[in-house]
Symmetry: C2
Subunit: 227 residues, 2 copies
Amino acid sequence: MHEAASEEIEIGRRVLEANEESARRNRELFARRRLFVVNLMGSPGAGKTTLLEKTIPALSGIRVGVIEGDIEGEADRKRVELAGASVTFQINTHGACHLLAHQIEHALGTIKLDAIDLLFIENIGNLVCPAEFELGESVRVMILGVTEGADKPLKYPLMFRKSHALILNKIDLIAQSGCDVKALKKNVRRVNPALAIIELSCRSGDGIEEWLKYIRENVKTTRSAKR
Amino acid sequence: MHEAASEEIEIGRRVLEANEESARRNRELFARRRLFVVNLMGSPGAGKTTLLEKTIPALSGIRVGVIEGDIEGEADRKRVELAGASVTFQINTHGACHLLAHQIEHALGTIKLDAIDLLFIENIGNLVCPAEFELGESVRVMILGVTEGADKPLKYPLMFRKSHALILNKIDLIAQSGCDVKALKKNVRRVNPALAIIELSCRSGDGIEEWLKYIRENVKTTRSAKR
């Protein structure tokens, strides 16, 4: 372990640099296309795919593309396709716990960007590493279930720090799960005072309108941006 | 990215080999000490620390040590100390998404192993990478909340494959979360037919006796093992 450490750090640095290069190219392409792109991150089971299932059909007039990141399988790609996504693309990492920008760059060579107004990239279910690798997205949105507990911002601070918006999901389970939402928000504020918080339940539908408004406004602003 | 790929694979291989060497030394030490050691893994918020809080005071006559793995902070170490752990040790990975065997080896230089009959290692909240790095433990136990959804074994197969026991937590939320437990178990069986499943709720206490029995029996068997 120890003799390899400096070499590891050097490799780690090069991986991050190569990722930033790819992310920059993706970002330029998205800007040129005036495409609003969401990098959606969160723990396994936080509700990433379910959120997309609720979002896609509700965004009438906005054509949605989804890049699905999963370790194995295509189950989530099929779910968002069924929900009405105009374009879908599956990335399987076969073990890796986060997406890399060059994987997105590769996907963008295939996806018909003319056919969409909005692109979601659903990252691997993981509250840690995806936060380290920007993909060229317009915004990073993280989703956390109240069932995960109020202490998570303090224990996994990087993702909370790097995100633009936090979706607090499963608010229908607040009472049953015993989650102290006030403490949770206080912990969020300690780590990232600027983080927008949207409370909703994908299951009951409560609060989802605020999220749809957030998306609609961002798509509109991006579409009308001067270049 | 691409030019670094073969070098990365080589480094990755050496990291895994060095980890296996450390894990082997830990395993020998644990065997010599007749110490039952649980590597406890699961997503953020699955209930790892809460399970320990319920387990430690219920194991009368068994002195428990806990090595807490967290990216940042000592909150969980304090919780298990309050719950009555005889010995605690905090590892902060400062970003890394899993524990490594050499970190445990280092901790074992400090912990008074004479003072405990059972050691829990609480891994970083992550359903992916901890499964790749054995620490020298007797068993790998994973914990999954029913709120995480029935599809998880198919999407994160490695941890389900590498675990000896699965604790299915939050069974008091089955109805509210809409989790299809039958489908979940079927998915577990597809990935690892031999995986022992213990259903419980840390919150309500239901099912916890089966888990305590599992621990008590393993501690007893390990204590009485011939060398």
